[in-house]
Amino acid sequence: MLDIRNLHASVDDIEILRGVNMKVNEGEVHAIMGPNGSGKSTLAQVLAGNEAYEVTDGGVDFLGQDLLEMPAEERARLGVFMAFQYPTEIPGITNAYFLQAALNEIRKSHGLEELDAMEFQELLHEKMELVAIDPGFANRPVNQGFSGGEKKRNEILQMAVMEPKLAILDETDSGLDIDALRIVADGVNKLRDPKRATILVTHYQRILEYVVPDYVHVLYQGVLVKSGGKELALELEKKGYDWLKNELATA
């Protein structure tokens, strides 16, 4: 489904991703861990199409298409969804209006009828219930004045409405209370089917207890330095990154 080959990316001429290779198949859940500043969010942003990051080398295929050639909105319409580590506040635009526009753009691109306000309202309430968000949030400006955890939940609501093929969750589990963590995990699990895939960027092994990953990768200084099964997360939790750094130094 997703094939990342030798991906290099930089910001302001500083190289951050220095050759990432990764394959994600349909139905899989991949976790990406790694110390602060190692490039996890950069990878997520590059995949989502943020032009603030310049791809200097390598390639990415998604569902057989050249992902890097596509503008961000087309990637979203094709089924790529990134939950932001720091969701943006949008003054003046309600969650409902935003999500209706987003969903309809996606539906249009698939040749489907747009949902009218009534139909969308119904769908939104259903999804809000699913991710346990108070219906009042529908009419609040997107993320404005939301608490950290509320913003994260809101990302999950968006994911639930848009039903992406590939979800990239950038530390969506950080800053969540235990209930919310379960909800996020449930949300991911509900979308888990043989046709979809998830990349979970996380610092904590906790969420991986709810969403059991098929693979765990460690990103360090812009390269995936280690990959393994779910036990790798446990090992990292126990030993910290120094263990890995030492191992790399001696290698």
């Binding site: 989502a48 199409g49 943020n50 032009e51 603030a52 503008p71 961000a72 909105e73 990637r75 979203a76 319409r77 969804f81 990134m82 932001f84 969701p87 943006t88 949008i90 003054p91 003046g92 635009i93 209006y97 935003f98 999500l99 526009a101 987003a102 753009e105 996606i106 691109s109 747009e114 400006p141 968006q158 848009m162």
Partner: protein
């Protein structure tokens, strides 16, 4: 070949038109106002952009034309069906239609006025002689503003709204001012509004300006006076949607006694040059004045909102909040002037002017102007001008929404925030639809734009 031998100055041209009206009929109180106006026109000059208050606003294009004053009700041929689209229908207690400043009773509706509320035309307000005497021309006198002088000099008709003591009239009176784009050259109309709320009463009104007939030039010179007695509450909405070639100069002036509240909303959507001089004097303790506005400009429009609140008494609060969206080569001007007199201790005054520039050729000149002579006051001001940050645009795009659509949605969101405090649902939703229509790239999902 021309028969014009000597080129008259604009002022001379207005005076010539005034001479023609000499001896026009009218009650004594009206003649008095006219006379004061005429004397002022003679004594004053048109404002020049070298004057601080007119620094960014060049009125020359207005004075290039020769206007025939609307001296009598126009032979406009409008029927009920033609004015129907302007009616709000619900949430208002009366809808009064004026054409070129003259009241059109046959086209108006005023059957459901609440007890204690008078709403009608000025020319027939003679029963309220003492009120007219006390207020008309007193709050917005003919001097020193030349446009006020013109309005007074050419006074014929207008709207009169009067809330008797303790009367509570929450539903506004809707005043619809239509101006014809004359076949015989541009028309100048001089509508006048007087709204008086006696002690502990409550009243509201909407002034709406729109053209009828073919597109073309005309000139509207409007003066609105609002008086709020002790404990009274007056709410004012102004919707300016003039012809794209038309000129509109308006003075809106409030006078507030103890514990009174005046709230004014000014929505400027269309018109070649529009200026709103909106001001109020807080003359008694505990008064509250809120001036809100939204201007959406495009093409080569010039919109100047000059707001001014005078704190003349202690313990009063004021707020000025204006927002602008500027497109094309348009030019916006905003002034937020606050004067705090020496005795006006405990004044609490805040203002914010926010602008969104949609093009590199649109410009805004914004300036707060604080003159504070009391020492125990809280006065804040701020202004922002910009475009939506790239990260916000990216957030939309990452959800499948194109940049163009994102910008439209953001502009709509920015502008429509001003509507949150508009209590009249029929007006609010119409303005909302209008703003949405202007900025949303998804026009097809909407009801076609109605006249507003």
């Amino acid at each position: 070949m021309t028969t014009d031998t000597i080129k008259a100055t604009p002022k001379e041209r207005f005076l010539v038109e005034l001479q023609k009206l000499n001896g026009a009929p009218g009650p004594d109180w009206m003649k008095r106002v006219r006379k004061a106006g005429e004397e002022s026109v003679k004594a004053l000059d048109f404002p020049h952009h070298k004057e601080e208050e007119w620094r960014f606003t060049n009125i020359k294009p207005i004075l290039q034309h020769e206007y025939a004053p609307a001296a009598a009700p126009a032979d406009h041929g409008l029927d009920a069906a033609a004015v129907e689209p302007y009616f709000l229908g619900t949430g208002v207690c009366a809808e009064l239609v004026f054409v070129n400043g003259f009241y059109e009773p046959a086209l108006s509706r005023a059957e459901n006025l609440p007890q204690g509320l008078t709403a009608g035309n000025l020319a027939n307000a003679g029963d309220h002689g003492a009120t007219l005497e006390k207020h008309l021309g007193q709050h917005a006198p003919a001097r020193p503003n030349m446009f006020n002088a013109l309005n007074a000099a050419f006074l014929h008709d207008g709207a009169f709204i009067y809330a008797a003591q303790n009367c509570v009239a929450r539903e506004p009176v809707h005043l619809i001012f239509l101006t014809t784009t004359g076949e015989n050259g541009p028309v100048a109309a001089y509508p006048r509004v007087l709204a008086v709320a006696e002690a502990n009463s409550e009243a509201a009104f909407i002034e709406q300006f729109a053209p009828v007939g073919q597109p073309g030039v005309y000139f509207n010179s409007v003066v609105t006076e609002m008086a709020a007695a002790e404990g009274a509450r007056l709410t004012h909405y102004k919707v300016t949607q003039e012809a794209d070639e038309a000129f509109h100069m308006a003075t809106i002036r409030g006078a507030q006694e103890k514990d009174s509240v005046i709230q004014s909303f000014s929505f400027t959507f269309r018109g070649r040059i529009v200026r709103n001089d909106v001001s109020s004097v807080l003359g008694g303790e505990g008064g509250d004045c809120k001036l809100n506005g939204l201007y959406l400009t495009q093409a080569d429009q010039l919109v100047d909102n000059h707001t001014f609140i005078e704190h003349a008494a202690p313990h009063c609060a004021s707020w000025i909040g204006y927002k602008g969206v500027l497109d094309g080569k348009s030019h916006g001007v905003f002034t937020g002037k606050i004067l705090v007199q020496r005795d006006a201790q405990k004044t609490d005054s805040n203002q914010l002017n926010s602008n969104m520039l949609l093009t590199d050729t649109a410009t805004i000149d914004t300036k707060p102007q604080l003159e504070i002579f009391a020492d125990d006051v809280k006065c804040t001001h701020g202004s922002t001008t910009g475009k939506p940050p790239e990260e916000v645009i990216f957030y939309f795009r990452s959800r499948g929404i194109s940049e163009e659509m994102a910008r439209g949605m953001l502009t709509y969101g920015f502008a429509s925030e001003v509507l949150e405090d508009v209590d009249v649902e029929s007006l609010r939703s119409r303005l909302d639809r209008w703003i949405f229509h202007r900025y949303s790239p998804k026009k097809h999902t909407l009801v076609p734009e109605k006249a507003i």
